[in-house]
Symmetry: C2
Subunit: 337 residues, 2 copies
Amino acid sequence: MSAATPLAQDRRRASIEGIVGLTRPDMERVNALILSMAGSNVELIPRIAEHLISSGGKRLRPMLTIASALAFGYEGGNHVKLAASVEFLHTATLLHDDVVDESDLRRGTETARTIWGNQASVLVGDYLLGQAFKMMVEVGSMRALAILSNASAVIAEGEVWQLSAAKHMTTSEADYLAVIDAKTAALFAAATEVGPVIAGADEAMQVAMRRYGRDLGLAFQLVDDVLDYDGSAQALGKNVGDDFREGKITLPVILAFARGDEGERAFWRRAMEEGRNDDAALEEAAALLRRHGALEETKARARGYGASAREAVESLPPSPARQALADVVDFCIDRIV
Amino acid sequence: MSAATPLAQDRRRASIEGIVGLTRPDMERVNALILSMAGSNVELIPRIAEHLISSGGKRLRPMLTIASALAFGYEGGNHVKLAASVEFLHTATLLHDDVVDESDLRRGTETARTIWGNQASVLVGDYLLGQAFKMMVEVGSMRALAILSNASAVIAEGEVWQLSAAKHMTTSEADYLAVIDAKTAALFAAATEVGPVIAGADEAMQVAMRRYGRDLGLAFQLVDDVLDYDGSAQALGKNVGDDFREGKITLPVILAFARGDEGERAFWRRAMEEGRNDDAALEEAAALLRRHGALEETKARARGYGASAREAVESLPPSPARQALADVVDFCIDRIV
């Protein structure tokens, strides 16, 4: 890392240790706030919330909000509330998604709907949404509220769109990108844009952080879509073939379908539209994706969005937070290297 | 109506014509805003929204918001946005409720979940919630946002509570009141409290309008619970016995259970907890409710809350809006006279 290099890129393997270390003290406060806001006299609510929290992932989104505020020298406590809101919006989406997708497992753990039923999952998701908005209101920034409430509507719109598009092989690449822009990238973009907003950074920085979050979110989702067909990803708790079995039409499938001959297209229609998606079909699907370089092409797109996200943070003033944000991009991409 | 009577109470039959006439011009704007905010490029969203709108009820909640603003001389346009938000919060709750209750009919019309499925109902509900918050943010009143976001969390909490309490004859009267306070009265209270808030009325008026909305909401729900066992209510589109068949433990049932002998209690347990709720059981239930005066007692409670709501609006400056708000109370109660 020479002084001339604005952002270190010379490590063999990117890591999220940077952002984890940077945000640790604030994330402890975020976690405490999450536990307290998931509390209720209605016993079922904290029970489901604790299940989600203990089986939870890396808490990437709230870490991004904290780091995005720290990157602009923010010194108050509102980034903690916004980070907890972002995590609640995400958790509510997961609860409702599992109901919609009829998922039994998430990251290898039974989903809330399997244990407590669809009814409780729908209603506890609504409660977490309500609590998220209460925390945002406490922050008192109309601009942050506008960004996050807009994201919340856009995410739901993307989910409905995905539902309409599901199992139709007519889904185009543009349709797919619009869906992941809404259902994944919108929350990443909101999570990172609110940092400069509450820090009072100038508008160019808000634009840069919005772009960073959006492009990181797109890259993240594309990588996820690749991992669903890539056996080496097991360690990350994702089950290979989940998307395939649910008839989710992701970019690798769209590319292979477009490049396939009539026989292959008929295979994809049977698998995605008619649900003929057993293990043999999954193997066949993986072979077709390889034959047409569909996974490689999807990875290339992910790298492109990653490069754009990295470029967006280059415009920030140098700081450990900026470096940590840049490293997150590499970490997400490296999952498929 | 003499000049000495602060609020007219001398009509034979209360009506909502007062509030309907008073709010008509603004409600036309509310309806236009609802249609526009329920719009989306995702075709399924406006289709479901239009279904809800065309099969919708009286739009009582948004009318209350409009009248509550007019009662304090409000002259801007923000009451229209808040009224539309209130209706969206309500509609989102109905969509999710129908999924949770597995309801096939609402007001004699097929529910959205029957036509488009549970998945679409969950997600379109989420979309309407997001749009509701976007409209609230546009209004720019932190106080109104705090009131409505709090209501949104409280409603969901009440629904989870109801889910936990459902089908348990151990549900106490206090449990029941806490549930309807959350799931019904909280939105009425928020809908009426935001009127004086955006009109800049003093805090005493906010407190009065909150009490008015809450007590009206409690009365409204108690009346609904009576109508579920009262055949004369068919005209209102409510199906007699819906609550009974769903195992919903309402105040009439709690009162009859408390006053019943061991044999009767066993009957209620079989019906509500074990689902032995065919037409013969419904008849038996209605007979027990009559024997113990449970419907009369519930009506008396409703009248008590109604009187309290009326008293709350007495403290407002005299105006056609105040009269219209008072008449709404009588109209709600009169459904059971």
